[in-house]
Symmetry: C2
Subunit: 102 residues, 2 copies
C-alpha cells in the first residue's frame, strides 16, 4: 500500500470551512483505480494544522490519479479564497510512503 | 478517531533493522483499550525517513496507553543501538490529530 500525506496550515478561522469542503467533496477520487481511502486530520495541539492523507494500492495508482482529469476537476472545486489560503500557508511539500509494517 | 504520528530519520543502513523490529513487535498495544491499528511507513523519496502511525478510538485511549506498563515494556524491547539511533535523529516531536473527515 502507498500513502500520500500533505500537511497544511490555515488560519484557525478557516479550518471549519476547509473541513466542510472536504466533507462535501465530489468523491471523484473514490472511483480512481487503486484508490483505498482518504482522511482529513486536525491537530489537537495546533488548531490551524490540517493533514490530508490518501491511501493507494501502489505508487502507480497514485501517480495516474495525479495526472487525471478527475484530479484537476476536484481541485477546481475548491473555493478560490480557501485555495489561496492553503497555497500561501502550506507547511511543506507532499510526502509519500510505502506501508512497510502493520 | 484519534491518530498519533511520529516521524523518524535513521541511517539508511538501519532502516531494515527498524522495519524488522516493528514486524517482530510484541503486539502488546493490540490489547490496549481503544487501540485501532498501527502502521509503519517508509518514504519512497527519502530512504531514511520512517513514519509510525497509531490509530485510537479517542485521545483518552491513547494517553492511557502512553502511561501504561504495556507501553513501557514495548519500548524496552527496542534494541538499544536502534533506540539510540532513533533518539538522536528524531525529526520532530509526536503529532496527534482528530480524524475530522473521510
Amino acid at each position: 500500500m502507498y500513502v500520500a500525506l500533505s500537511r497544511l496550515r490555515v488560519a484557525v478561522a478557516q479550518v471549519d470551512a476547509l473541513v466542510s469542503a472536504f466533507r462535501a467533496r465530489a468523491h471523484l477520487v473514490d472511483e480512481a483505480d487503486g484508490f483505498v481511502d482518504l482522511e482529513v486530520w486536525r491537530s489537537d495541539r495546533d488548531a490551524g494544522e490540517i493533514v490530508m492523507i490518501s491511501r493507494w494500492r501502489d505508487r502507480a495508482a497514485f501517480t495516474a490519479y495525479m495526472r487525471s482529469e478527475a484530479h484537476r476537476v476536484s481541485h477546481a472545486r475548491i473555493p478560490s479564497d480557501l485555495d489561496a489560503a492553503i497555497r500561501l500557508e502550506r507547511l511543506e511539500g507532499l510526502h509519500t510512503y510505502d506501508v512497510v509494517a502493520e
